[in-house]
């Protein structure tokens, strides 16, 4: 009996799990290995005798160097980071205030407002980018980071609001009531008592928003035109391909370095990210 169980565990658990892990992580490995392989190896013909695509014995930092020194990649990193931080900030601000109002206050049209925030999610960026391009231009925000900083919150705020709403609902009402008796206004109770308690929720929402923002593409593609203003996703796609030639070494180095900041932020806050992910779905 015991032997059979062990066999079963191996086949039905460890094997699939291993396959999942390999399947999930292989592309990253490939990204990494390509970024450090010399060009000679990368473009070696198949039929060459010593073709070993899965590893390299002569790792090189040439691609990374070229990327950082000869392109505007560092600029893109900074742009993306700046835009992500500011739009996350704006969205958190709106989400905190709005989430509190929807979770705690009674007022007419509360239900309707909550639903309409949900409805905005049904209007994806790929539906709005054409008219938005026009609007951005007429506000004279074209080709500036502000075009993105003001439009990213459109998909970040609903997430933040739902997440924080759900979080606020778990905080007992008595805390605010007590604060109001102790001498705070409703607003004061919200800021001094509820917000500090909600810090884990705020972190979750913030991390999630940060990664969503870093991932955005179409608005950045349409609203930004000059190379030094671009974000990492757009820059890598549009600037690292000269003519028809793909410089895969550099491209993968760009992909890798472009992913590192997000992965790093994520790795420090995994639990918060997961809470953010699952919380927004539950909300």
């Amino acid at each position: 009996m015991v032997i059979e169980r062990r066999w079963k565990t191996w086949v039905f658990f460890y094997l699939p799990l291993t396959l999942f892990v390999i399947g999930t992580l292989f592309p990253f490995y490939w990204m990494f290995i390509t970024a450090i392989r010399p060009d000679a190896e990368l473009y070696r013909s198949w039929r060459a005798v010593n073709n070993a695509p899965f590893w390299t014995l002569q790792p090189t930092l040439a691609h990374v160097n070229d990327l950082l020194a000869k392109t505007t990649f560092p600029r893109w990193l900074w742009n993306t980071f700046f835009i992500a931080v500011v739009s996350t900030g704006i969205s958190l601000f709106c989400g905190l205030l709005g989430g509190y109002a929807l979770a705690r206050l009674r007022f007419p049209m509360a239900g309707m407002l909550g639903t309409s925030i949900f409805v905005t999610y049904l209007v994806p960026p790929t539906l709005l980018f054409i008219p938005l391009a026009d609007i951005i231009r007429s506000f004279q925000l074209g080709n500036t980071p502000w075009a993105l900083i003001l439009t990213y919150p459109t998909f970040l705020i609903p997430f933040c609001t739902w997440l924080l709403m759900g979080y606020f609902k778990t905080i007992p009402r008595e805390l605010e009531e007590c604060a109001r008796i102790d001498g705070a206004t409703r607003f004061g109770a919200m800021v001094r008592i509820i917000f500090p308690i909600a810090v884990p929720g705020i972190l979750s929402a913030g991390i999630f928003a940060f990664t969503l923002s870093w991932n955005e593409f179409i608005y950045a593609l349409v609203f930004l035109s000059s190379p030094e203003r671009k974000t990492v996703p757009v820059g890598v796609v549009s600037e690292l391909i000269r003519g028809d030639i793909y410089f895969w070494g550099q491209l993968m180095a760009g992909a890798l370095l472009g992913s590192v900041p997000v992965a790093l932020v994520y790795s420090f806050f995994v639990e918060y990210y997961v809470t953010g992910l699952t919380g927004s779905v539950k909300g």
Binding site: E174, R180, I181
Partner: protein, 363 residues
């Protein structure tokens, strides 16, 4: 003068009329308990005094101001909640200091008051801890301490002891009473536990379904309940109720039901005569039933079968049946009776109650 006056107070939630025409005058320094079953409106009334619920109709006065439109923070009150409501991200000290900080008290004054309250409540060693490091009883004390430092005009308590275990509850009850004696501040206390009400209140307000049933000192509620509900609510084990008919025989009024007959005491005859031939409810407390001895006048005795014997050590509870009516009697621990035995019980004619069947008022 920190009196609290409620005039024609009403609260409606959409369809539900939770508080109906409450009129109450609570004097300065008085400790008044609002007691009643769940849903009777006692918490809602308290919250209206606190300013946490809007008043649908009527007026509340605290001190010499009508407070209907004042937000909670301007009413000069403090409240202790059932689940303590301590701010989890602050230390005990900061929890207690919060209200004073909101009112911009100088640091030295805050420190003085917090220390003072901590001493009174015996929590001065806990000042640097966070709420999650405290036990239930300790948290309760901090909640009380937070209320004390404000030196408010009125203390409000919303079932503060309900979350504590039985032993702790008894202990805290005594402490709260001592505290009130020491602080001499008006207090309104809400509970569903009639024992707490009787032991803590200078006066007790019994509520049911949004109405005030009776207001009075504890002993008055006990010995002269205004209606059947109050009679049955106050006192444990509860008062015995029997459906009887008022009959006349030999020029004397009797209260009768199958297998049970006692005389209507002379002082009550006038009030009960109009009910001749009708049904009324008779009420007698378990402690007012004794095993009959020759000294008891026979007109006030009756036979009953013993169904269950509950020996409690300090007394014995007998579950008996007199005719069709089940009753409970509290007797001396030395009594020796057995189940299925028939015993003769006597009641005290001065502690008999009659209630109108329809209005439930005490006749």
């Amino acid at each position: 003068m920190a009196q609290v006056v409620m005039k024609d107070l009403n609260k409606k939630y959409d369809e539900v009329h939770a508080v109906k025409d409450v009129n109450l005058h609570i004097r300065d320094k008085e400790f008044v308990v609002l007691v009643g079953p769940s849903g009777c409106g006692k918490s809602t009334t308290l919250r209206m005094v606190a300013g946490l619920e809007e008043i649908t109709a009527g007026e509340i006065t605290i001190g010499d101001r009508v407070v209907n439109d004042l937000p909670p923070k301007d009413r000069d009150i403090a409240m202790v909640f059932q689940n303590y409501a301590l701010y989890p991200h602050m230390t005990v000290y900061d929890n207690m200091a919060f209200g004073l900080k909101m009112r911009k008290f100088p640091k030295a004054e805050i420190q003085k008051r917090v220390q003072e309250a901590a001493e009174i409540l015996g929590i001065h060693e806990l000042l640097k801890r966070k709420p999650r490091q405290l036990s239930g009883g300790q948290r309760q004390r901090v909640a009380v301490g937070r209320a004390i430092v404000r030196h408010p005009q009125v203390f409000l308590f919303d079932e503060p002891l309900s979350n504590l275990d039985a032993k702790l509850r008894v202990q805290m009850r005594v402490e709260l009473k001592r505290l009130h004696d020491r602080l001499e501040t008006t207090a309104i206390y809400v509970t569903h536990d009639q024992v707490e009400a009787m032991t803590l209140g200078d006066r007790v307000v019994v509520m049911k379904d949004g109405w005030v049933q009776q207001v009075g000192e504890p002993l008055e509620l006990y010995s002269r309940p205004a209606n059947r509900f109050v009679a049955g609510f106050i006192g444990s084990p509860a008062m015995n109720f029997a459906d009887v008919t008022i009959g006349e025989a030999g020029g004397v009024l009797w209260a009768e039901s199958p297998g049970f007959r006692v005389k209507v005491p002379p002082p009550r005859v006038d009030r009960l005569r109009p009910h001749k031939g009708q049904r009324v409810t008779l009420g007698v407390r378990p402690e007012d039933l004794h095993l009959a001895s020759p000294t008891h006048p026979a007109d006030y005795t009756f036979d009953a079968t013993v169904e269950v014997v509950e020996p409690l050590g300090s007394e014995i509870l007998l579950d008996i049946r007199a005719g069709n009516t089940p009753m409970v009697a509290r007797v001396d621990p030395s009594v020796r009776v057995k189940v299925h035995e028939t015993v003769r019980l006597a009641l005290d004619p001065e502690r008999l109650h009659f209630f109108d069947v329809k209005t439930e008022a005490n006749i």
